[in-house]
Symmetry: none
Subunit: 194 residues, 2 copies
């Protein structure tokens, strides 16, 4: 971790606000300092880094996250990027590429290390190739949710069991990776469903 910090210290336009050695500490710093960018080492607690990334993505949508990892497989990259990471680099990244990644990310882009981007891009292509994500039925229900219909009201309107609507609702939440109806509305707006 010190290695990374020293890499950054050499560059005047970057300022290291804090370094955290565990996830709770990191969360604390993030909430108090609210930095523009968080560099997360997912080798430290395995799942901790994933949770941290999800937390940042949902609570601070404008805050950027770059993941430092030692895993170069598509699964790990995909999981972190899905969780809301803006960049993914291996721990052996060179200073120049790290700086480049930071700049790209801060400008609103995504950055995956050169040596990984080829295989990841290929996987991504098959992965994100306009998969509808939500089924027609689910979209229908999402629209009704956005219109302030309760689960019970939706079930009455569509002649379904409330249980069915509940299941659909759960599946929608799972698929869109949001934590409540609020995220659902935001998702619907940004994806053009609503």
């Amino acid at each position: 971790m010190d290695g990374i910090a020293s890499l950054l210290l050499d560059v005047p336009q970057f300022k290291v606000l804090a370094k955290a050695s565990d996830v709770p500490q990191a969360m604390d710093y993030i909430q108090t300092l609210q930095p523009d960018l968080v560099i997360t080492d997912i080798s430290m607690g395995e799942t901790g880094g994933l949770e941290l990334t999800r937390f940042i993505a949902s609570h601070y949508p404008l805050m950027k996250v770059i993941v430092l990892s030692m895993h170069d497989d598509v699964q790990h990259i995909g999981t972190m990027m899905d969780a809301g990471a803006n960049g993914y680099l291996l721990k052996n990244v060179r200073q120049q590429e790290l700086q480049h990644a930071i700049i790209s990310v801060m400008e609103g882009g995504q950055y995956v290390q050169q040596s990984l981007s080829t295989k990841f891009a290929k996987a991504m292509q098959q992965d994100t190739q306009e998969k509808p994500l939500l089924s027609p039925r689910e979209i229908e229900i999402l629209r009704l949710i956005a219109l302030e219909y309760s689960t019970l009201e939706i079930s009455e309107r569509l002649f379904l069991s409330p249980h069915t609507v509940e299941t659909h609702r759960k599946n929608i939440l799972r698929k869109t990776k949001v934590k409540s109806v609020i995220g659902l509305i935001n998702y619907g707006r940004s994806s053009g469903i609503l």
Copy 2:
């Protein structure tokens, strides 16, 4: 009251489902028959009509309420309209204007008797003229709600008791007259707060 009913009976597209002589009886009818429209005489029990209107507005948002009154002052009109009434007429209203009011209200509009609307509109103007509606604190909290913060998280972020946040949330819901966070988001979007 019979005078009103007979006015309505002359018109084929209106059907009088029931007449109530006191508030509890009216509540009973409303809940069992769920009419499209309720015409309330606020001279009968003073506060009773106000409570009834509030009850309908909160429990049956789509049900319309027209208030028949003998008070022509701005206070009374404002109170009833704020409580959720869709129309306000004096008891001496002519049949033609009553019908017109009903049609306007059923089409989703608001109707205040011609002879009153001028003074009321003037009061309303000062009243609704960029009244911030939500206080700065409430707007702050609304924004955090939209970012998927829970009440507890908001309280921690603003160094407040969760109870306080709860109160603000309730006041926001009351002021914006929506029924859940979903309506809150929609309100925020349309009003430009979010």
